[in-house]
Amino acid sequence: MRLGRLTKGIIVLALMLSVLAAPVFAATKLQVASWWSFEGGSSLDAFKQAFEAKHPDIVIEYVQIPSSEYYTKVLTMIAGGTPPDVAMLGMDKLGTWVPRGALQDLTPYMEEAGFDLDVFFPAVQAAVQHDGGIYAMPRDATTSVVAYNKALFDQAGVPYPEAGWTKDDFLNTARALVQKEGNQTTVFGYAFDTFSDGFIDWLYVNNASVINPDGTGSGLHLPNAVEVLEFLQGMVKEGIAPAPALTQTFSNASGAFNSQRAAMYVTTVGWANSFTNNADLDWDVVPLPTWDEDSDPATRLWVNYWALPKGAKHSKEAFQFLAFLASEEGQRIVGETKMGIPGIPEVAYGPAFAQSPGAPEHKTYFLEVMDGAKPFPLFPQSDQFYATMTREFDSMWAGERTVEDAVKALDDASKSLFQ
């Protein structure tokens, strides 16, 4: 077969182009799953720009999955053998995904790269370890503190709270902040959500948890936990805090605080950032109260993760990305783009977070309480346990059931989960 000149020319040109283009196509594409937007100017975009500048042989491709279906989708991708190379995870998922074998232990990659966990806050170091392995790198961390509306305190003539207060001080303060017009409450003293996130800090304050100390069943029927639930239910009954149905009309309890309908709210950094964006809000933060004068201060530590799914195609390159995200540079981006608290103390106490401009004035409290912070509980049955808890507690929060009755029902209903 004889080829014409034109055909030969095209073939030669194509070969040349393919040779020239080879370095571009040789780049490893890392698929990174997250529920966050990765548009220009976002935190994820900042990570991509900075990482690719240092690693021209690796291209980051984000896959955004809506948060409502994120975990189902990613877990199904892993089970189906087509996992993303890197996945963003909330802290609670480490407890359910590691026992399933859905995540890779990062220890060998860390050893090879000489990566040391010591750079992180001790609480963050503990939070990435589970079942004897290291299964994630910290995306960011957060503790909880009490956010309070200074203007509403001034209106009520109540002094601003100070570190070292107790839960009785808290209750009296919240009670004094309630404002009414006729029978209608216009300002509540405090607002909280009735899912686990909304009250777990109070459990920690009274040295309780959602599961028992052995991890063999519900811990919410134990005396300290019952005290906490009765304390919170009491505030709803007394009208200091809005009932769940009313809270829902603000979207959630943070919405009640943000719209100045609640004077206090236990906040994480994520919600605090939404308050910072509200120019009408004059607010600050203070550590959570202790349960009484003898008890130690406590708060919950929540860490968001980057993890390496089992079966990821480019694990080695993916770990390079993880190491970058957890590095000083990556954690500085975390602080600057307001994702949360950088996991490295030197970065967290610097201009990226603690010394950054804007409210709250005392944002260092988020860091100072890190010492007493207890990690969010991780256990394999958590998804089903929290669903059962919501079912049994709905009527308790609505005031249609006693705490004793609800916690007993939860204990009974969840027994089979722990067998």
């Binding site: 199904t76 399933r100 769940p244 149905a245 009313l246 998804d383 669903a387 059962t388 079912r391 009527s395």
Partner: protein, 295 residues
Amino acid sequence: MTGVSKRKNTIDAWLFLLPNFIGFLVFTVFAIGFSLWISMHRWDLFSSPTFTGLSNFVRLLTNDRDFKRALLNTLYFAVGIVPLGTATSLCLALLANRGLKGMTFFRTVMYLPSVSSTIAVGIVWIWLLDPQFGVVNYALRSIGLASPPNWLGSVLWAKPALILMHIWQYAGYYMIIFLAGLQGVPEQLYEAAVLDGASSWQKFWRITLPLLSPTTFFVIVMKMIGVFNIFEQPFIMTGGGPSGSTETIVYYIYSNAFEWFNMGYASAVAWVLFILVFGVTLIQFKYQGRWVNYE
């Protein structure tokens, strides 16, 4: 046709059928068979399935109060939606059949919700039923009801609220089916009844309803199957709450399969649901002779 061309035609026919047939085998026959097999196993998608015999079925029928609650919730929906929904659609069809001005527009408006996305419709209804700012409670307050229900947040009212929304959403769809049935009723029967001095009620009761019974039967069967499969409305509007009061069987299957990854157990629940729907449909067919008139 010669033997060769006949054989060729047969082969051609099979070749045309093959893509669909393969799809049917893989996505229907295999999927159903696999779900039956997996219902006798414990499987979380990651580890190998562990054979557990009939224990999933025994547990859900004897020792699973969440399944029992989901079953009772589903039956509540069936009792609420099937008769009320059928009656509503029939009333709308009778209205639409009167040939009044603007009926085409009326039919289109009534049919619209059934072709709208349940997610979009659900979100609109969440706002309508909002206890503080919702239109429904605003209307109730304006007629003097001081404390209208917290529709989606109350154990007592969440199911009626979903029933109301479901009936509204599908009323137009079944109205069209009834309308087709109504237009098949011979006009002479009404004329003869008028000559005999029958009232409007007597015409409806003695002519329309009996001659519409095959359509009514079809509507009831379809609605019953639909109600046993209710999922989107509670998923969007209540998340199965409050206190699990709107969790249906399909919602329970979804939670087990895709939230907790108990694939074997979810499959067992799905098979029990299938047997239930099949049984109810069978009973309906068995007793249709007593009230359905095909003449």
